[in-house]
């Protein structure tokens, strides 16, 4: 039986990297005495899969992990036990039993939603609302990203499904998060603000776009439509309590 566990990540623990978060949950599952399934062999490990890794420093309202269990009490009970043994800032908000047909969390991710805010005193010179229409009107948004192999130019535009001001202070975006075409919210923001001579070149180290943003992942989605006409639903909508 597979469970899909949705959790939030906030506060100081946002600096915990993805691998360490996995290690955290392996221990938390033991502490919570969940009847998790193990692989065979001399060093058995829990059967678990995480959806898209979250960058260090980002907070999230919608992270997912699937685990294989031999038996369960109830979804509510598992959630409570995990939260009881968790630390401040890692909080399980839903546990559901997955249907046998469901793909695993990692493979099913197609899109991710983020909200982006600026840190106090680090707003760009030109308000985002004024540059947004032109940005979205472009046919191509070329962005040079650093990869392990060096610099690589990519077109961000097809992967930006939605991008708008949510309020005066925050920007909402829904972007491609599939393994082939994952788009980082930071890259979108860098491309968006690139021409604005974003604050003060001389103090670049501290005022780079990255250092200016507070990014929260809101949720992860899977595509139940087609590639041409996608229909995104939250990973949380699959499975039953």
């Amino acid at each position: 039986m597979r469970l899909r566990i949705k959790f939030k990540k906030y506060g100081p623990v946002r600096f915990i990297g993805h691998l360490d978060l996995m290690r955290f949950f392996q221990k938390a599952i033991r502490r919570a005495q969940i009847d998790v399934a193990y692989t065979e062999g001399f060093s058995p490990h829990q059967i678990m899969a995480f959806a898209a890794p979250l960058g260090v420093g980002l907070t999230s309202n919608g992270e997912y992990m699937d685990i294989e269990v031999n038996s369960i009490t109830s979804c509510q009970d598992i959630m409570e036990r995990l939260n009881k043994t968790s630390v401040y800032g890692i909080e399980v908000i839903s546990v559901k039993v997955l249907p046998d047909t469901a793909g695993n969390a990692m493979a099913s991710v197609a899109a991710a939603a983020y909200t982006v805010r600026f840190r106090e005193g680090r707003e760009p010179a030109m308000p985002v609302s004024t540059v947004l229409p032109e940005f979205l009107a472009r046919e191509q948004i070329l962005f040079t990203k650093k990869t392990k192999k060096g610099l690589k130019e990519v077109d961000l535009r097809p992967g930006i499904y939605q991008l708008n001001m949510e309020s005066m202070e925050s920007i909402y975006m829904l972007v491609n998060a599939s393994s082939g075409g994952n788009i980082k919210p930071l890259h979108v923001m860098e491309a968006l603000l690139e021409r604005e001579n974003f604050p003060d070149e001389s103090r670049r180290e501290e005022n780079s776009v990255e250092q200016s943003l507070l990014i929260t992942r809101e949720d992860l989605y899977t595509n139940i439509g087609t590639e041409a006409e996608p229909k995104f639903i939250s990973l949380d909508e699959i499975g039953e309590i």
């Binding site: 938390a28 599952i29 800032g89």
Partner: protein
Amino acid sequence: MIEEKQSKEQLSNNKLALSDDILMRIEKPERYIGHEVNSVVKDKSKVKVRFAMCFPDVYEIGMSHLGIQILYDMFNSMEDVWCERVYSPWVDLDAVMRRKNIPLFALESQEPIKDFDFLGITIQYEMCYTNILQILDLAQIPLLAVEREEDCPIVIGGGPCTYNPEPLADFFDIFYIGEGETRYDDLLTLYKECKSLKTDRVEFLRRAAGLPGIYVPRFYHVTYQEDGTIDRFFPTEEGIPSVIRKELFMDIMQEDHSAASYSSYPAKPVVPFIKVTQDRAVLEIQRGCIRGCRFCQAGQIYRPVRERNVDMLKSIAIEILQNTGYEEISLSSLSSSDYSKLPELLDFLIEECGRKHVNISLPSLRIDAFSLDIMSKVQDVKKSSLTFAPEAGSQRLRNVINKGLTEEAILKGAALAFEGGWTRVKLYFMLGLPTETAEDIRGIAELSNQIAATYFDTVPKEKRGGNRCQIVASTSFFVPKPFTPFQWARQCTKEEFLDKAYQTRTAISEQLNQKSIKYHWHEADASVWEGVLARGDRRLGQVIRRVYEKGSIYDAWGEYFNHDRWLETMEECGLSVDFYTHRERSLEETLPWDFIDCGVTKEFLIREWKKALEEKTSENCRQKCQGCGVSAFGGGICVEEKKL
């Protein structure tokens, strides 16, 4: 449930000492954010004493140390004390903190150490001494104890290096000599009394100096003779003891936790987010060692052997695994094979851990039929290797160091292991032991060769499956330590060490089975300074300070250690490396650590030193009491019935 959650939120410190900008730019920010599972957060308005417990090395090393977990648990079990942790900021953060003038902070509260009542530093190895100054400096606490004002924390040192605290005497207000479980209650009670009466710092220290196990270096004076050796070491005030006797935790053997002064074992150790060096649950099964190897300091200073109760260990093991979620557990002691209830404990753990999918990581056990049987149950034989620590290459030299491991036992163990399917063997040796000859060094190569030959004799060709055996021989360099029978011995120079390593390598390359033997040796530079600091006196304080001020930290890390800088500073201070470590000391000389009573008498050490030179061995504590003096503590193996 709801209450728990609220308290978690209330107790969380959302505000970190370091800004996001800094945390995003340094390596492994998780080292500095606290919030780990089982870390203790208290309401600071409700505690009287704030204690910062420090391991002066990087987080991953410090978090692997059992002693800190024990003391952290002990202090936090005291209602009016809040103990937090602090480790050395890595070099990247070190630079940022200096540039931005950020004071060093404790992990739990994220508040500056300089506002605490105590800063306790565990001193586990000599090469961390400059890191101690880094901690003080970053904490914005004056380096010299005598320059500290009333509102500075009391800086207190503990751990094995305090058995010769003299090179660090200038930097500490107090050294606590011996095991931490016994005297902190008294010390903190005295502190609270003094604090409420507004007694000044020096007066508190004066009174503390009257407590057993407590050494306050400022109340002692040293004079030197013309040849540089100590003339006199004496208290400067009436009422200050001239000898400090180590503290010993006898209640460790208690069956019933509640009966002891501090009895419990940390059942809820802090679980780090990042992978640390010792990333598992640790069960201390006994303290001390019956063996009496003559080079080993731990074997002397932690005497007498005290075994923990096996039933207590079983129940605590279950509790720790439940409270931490660790997927691995290991046993800790100086010589686990000597723990009398080892089979019973291991049977229990294998059963219990098998059910819980927990791995058992075995400590170095004496290789025999029993241990091989256990190992084959808990490890993948094909992937694991076996370890022998003969320490010396010849039987003659093994007798000198009193290492009771014979060639016959090694070869027999190896044959059994090869039959059981193991193909990899690790061998540990020391170079530069007293009386060592070229012949002894050749012995290292010959023993390695014989083990390889044993493989070919034991495992028929058709069963080898194209594999050969892998023997990995490693040598470290011998550094004489205080309170060992070798404390008078001469340490080799760097050149001698390297020559010995070269001889070993050459001898190995001449062996018939040399293709099956790999050889590793340690750096020689650091061993020289380890030797200087281990047996140094108060005059070395200025060297440590200057070398730190020139930029040395993380000397225990090869990439940051700067041999030439140490050498140059030593010369500037008019001190000589030869004097501290390359000369043999006379038995009459007053040694810098003579004022400490570690339980083992000087007469015993002299007796053992002489026996060593005569190549005579001594029986272990379980076979026959050697009269080392520690029976005066009236506990442990000294009062157990002797088994013959």
